[in-house]
């Protein structure tokens, strides 16, 4: 990936607010699911958006695919704002942008066979003659590790991992450029997760795909992605190269998230110091003032209660929305992982 190529995806000032009424007579409150997100993704890059439940990552995924409309901001796909496209143009664009869903149980129509499921994208977009479509379905099944003998089977006849392979094959049917994967392995068992992660990696190399990976799990993301953005309550709090972000987190929230992950090695578990956050993630309906993270932050100062921090570059390519941590002496950040 060279520095001078244009990004395939550019997100600028993206906001999605929902009006939520809490009762019949009370006034509506704004739920700021996505509240000012900026980043760009380069062709053939894997970019991860990581956060806990309620941070807005799934709303963001829906916006990136124009499945929802933003309150403000734009999403540029190869330079065109997807929200200002006409229907026909948007439909053509959809071939290039696909999604892989989390739940392989509910995202496949139970009354369609594998062949029908994989044929559907070609039918919808009017691609190829029936014989050619069949051929392409078979090739897709091969590429995604599905036995061709199962071509007339229904989703319930497959295991979870196999079903996720069908979901991936469907997403890749039309040779997309960008694939948004919304927690693609979190419903699967570990031994199957590894198979699917390897498959996604292989397919990326073969088909020159760009991934936006939505996840709550740093360890799976680390395997696949070059860059990571961490979200908290609708905002990106930190963004950087995978190794830099994991090895030297610049935002207290990232630091705590990393520290919370149990490491499958009892010797490391016994030795490491952990930052255990107190309290729950605040309700997005009433986020704390200033920096949203300040009530749970061990570095918070008075100023954090009133000032909303902006992302700033702390090291080349590494951005954090925290004016305190990058300059504080961090006792354990590096020791958290190593």
């Amino acid at each position: 990936m060279s520095r001078d190529t244009a990004p395939i995806l550019e997100i600028r000032g993206l906001k999605r607010h929902f009006a939520v009424s809490r009762g019949l007579f009370s006034s509506k409150t704004m739920l700021k699911a996505v509240d000012g997100v900026d980043f760009s993704v380069m062709p053939q890059e894997s970019f991860a958006v990581v956060g806990e439940s309620g941070c807005g990552k799934t709303t963001l995924a829906r916006l990136l695919l124009a499945l929802d409309r933003p309150t403000a901001g734009e999403v540029l796909f190869e330079g065109n704002n997807i929200f200002s496209l006409r229907r026909g143009a948007l439909r053509r664009l959809r071939r290039d942008m696909q999604i892989i869903f989390q739940d392989p149980y509910s995202s496949l129509n139970p009354r369609m066979t594998v062949e029908e499921l994989l044929m559907e994208p070609f039918v919808i977009h009017g691609i190829g003659a029936p014989a050619e479509r069949r051929e392409r379905v078979k090739r897709l099944m091969d590429a995604c590790g599905l036995a061709q003998s199962k071509i007339s089977s229904y989703p319930h006849e497959f295991s979870g991992g196999q079903r996720q392979r069908i979901g991936i094959a469907r997403a890749l049917a039309l040779n997309p450029k960008l694939v948004i994967a919304d927690e693609p392995v979190s419903a699967l068992d570990v031994s199957i997760q590894a198979q699917i992660l390897n498959l996604l990696k292989d397919l990326q190399n073969e088909m020159r795909l760009t991934y936006v990976f939505i996840s709550h799990d740093f360890s799976t993301v680390r395997h696949l992605c070059q860059r990571i953005a961490v979200m908290y309550l609708g905002r990106v709090v930190e963004m950087g190269q995978t190794e830099s972000l994991l090895g030297n987190p610049q935002h207290p929230y990232t630091e705590a998230l990393l520290s919370a992950i149990p490491i499958p090695d009892p010797n490391i578990e016994k030795k490491r110091t952990r930052v255990i956050l107190t309290g729950d993630v605040p309700s997005p309906l009433a986020p704390p003032s200033g920096c949203h993270f300040h009530p749970r932050c061990r570095y918070a100062t008075e100023a954090c209660k009133s000032r909303t921090p902006e992302l700033s570059e702390t090291q080349p390519g590494h951005w954090a929305a925290c004016p305190v941590l990058p300059f504080a002496q961090k006792p354990s950040a590096a020791a958290l992982i190593h």
Partner: protein, 325 residues
């Protein structure tokens, strides 16, 4: 020291239209006071069915406890009458579940639900039981417990609900806590809080914990002893450091290798090929044989016996037999 809970050759199955499904097929272990035994396995390994059978919570039929002994306080739980079992369940042996939302009653307050067990097992007044509920909520770290005790489950967040479940489980100071994927539905930062809470309580009360999980990170953090299950069978077991340092069974090794790690460089994950078997058909040999790269001819036909490569470390794998010869 005698174990607080001892399971011997437990076999549990279900009668289905397609035949007899062997969900748990010969599990044995000892749990000691103040210790945590982690049962690790993937979906369909029988780890939850085994947990439910300890508390006799499986509906019989379709479930059927084929054989085995579960010894607790000198008695075999599988031989107790339902009313005797009721005195133990929730009192001496408590359980917490994966889904804190579905395992709490949505139309009763948190306080009512916690005090229910206290009133039932300790025969105290309603007011005393409610006071105990407030104490318990305080102990599990719920802020403003005397007000929150009047809340309904939907007013609690996921982490708070799991804390309430733990409070309920602790209400009668149990000797054994069976925790079935207690943090799987929670975010990592909340998971860290709940695991810390369980450890603190265990330190104080010396209860034994049977922790059922699929997460090897949670195992490394919490367990003293580990037992790895696959397709209803016990594959391997050892002390936690020993198991991670020297895994013997090819399935355990596969499992450890397939976890993406946060440190070290692994470009490609070593996935275990294939799928877990269907339990309906009888497996005469080792159930892992079709996926095992080390499989030998007799792995398909002969059920592996228990080998002990080191003290306190066992593996059900014919490779151990080959090594020892």
């Amino acid at each position: 020291m005698d174990p607080v809970l001892s399971v011997k050759d437990l076999r549990v199955g279900f009668r289905t239209e397609r035949g007899f499904l062997r969900a748990v097929d010969g599990i044995s272990y000892d749990l000691h006071a103040g210790q945590t035994l982690a049962i690790v396995g993937e979906s369909g390994s029988g780890k939850s069915v085994h947990a439910l059978s300890i508390l006799r919570l499986l509906p019989e039929p379709p479930a059927e406890i084929v054989s085995g002994e579960i010894t607790f306080a000198g008695r075999d739980l599988l031989k107790l009458s339902l009313s005797e079992m009721r005195k133990i369940r929730g009192n001496r042996i408590a359980m917490i579940f994966q889904e804190p939302m579905t395992s709490l009653n949505p139309v009763l307050t948190i306080g009512d639900q916690i005090s229910e067990a206290v009133i039932l097992h300790q025969k105290v007044s309603q007011a005393k039981a409610m006071a105990k509920a407030v104490d318990l909520l305080k102990k599990v770290g719920i802020p403003h417990p005397s007000e929150r005790v009047k809340d309904y489950p939907h007013q609690f967040s996921g982490g708070m609900r799991q804390r309430a479940m733990i409070a309920m489980a602790l209400s009668c100071d149990p000797d054994v806590l069976v925790a079935d994927e207690p943090t799987t539905a929670l975010d990592v930062t909340i998971q860290a809080q709940i695991l810390e809470l369980m450890r603190d309580i265990q330190k104080e009360s010396k209860m034994g914990i049977v922790l059922i999980t699929h997460n090897l990170g949670v195992v490394a953090e919490m367990a003293d002893e580990v037992c790895v299950m696959y397709a209803g069978r016990q594959m391997e077991g050892a002390g936690v450091s020993e198991l991670f340092k020297d895994p013997r069974h090819p399935y355990t090794r596969g499992l450890l290798n397939s976890v993406p790690s946060l440190y070290g460089r692994k470009d490609r994950l070593e996935a275990i090929a294939g799928q877990p078997p269907e339990l309906v058909s009888e497996v005469p040999g080792c159930p892992f044989e079709p996926r095992c790269s080390k499989a030998m001819a007799h792995c398909k036909t002969e059920r592996p016996t228990r080998f002990e490569p080191a003290a306190g470390h066992y593996s059900y794998c014919w490779m151990e037999d080959a090594k020892s010869q």
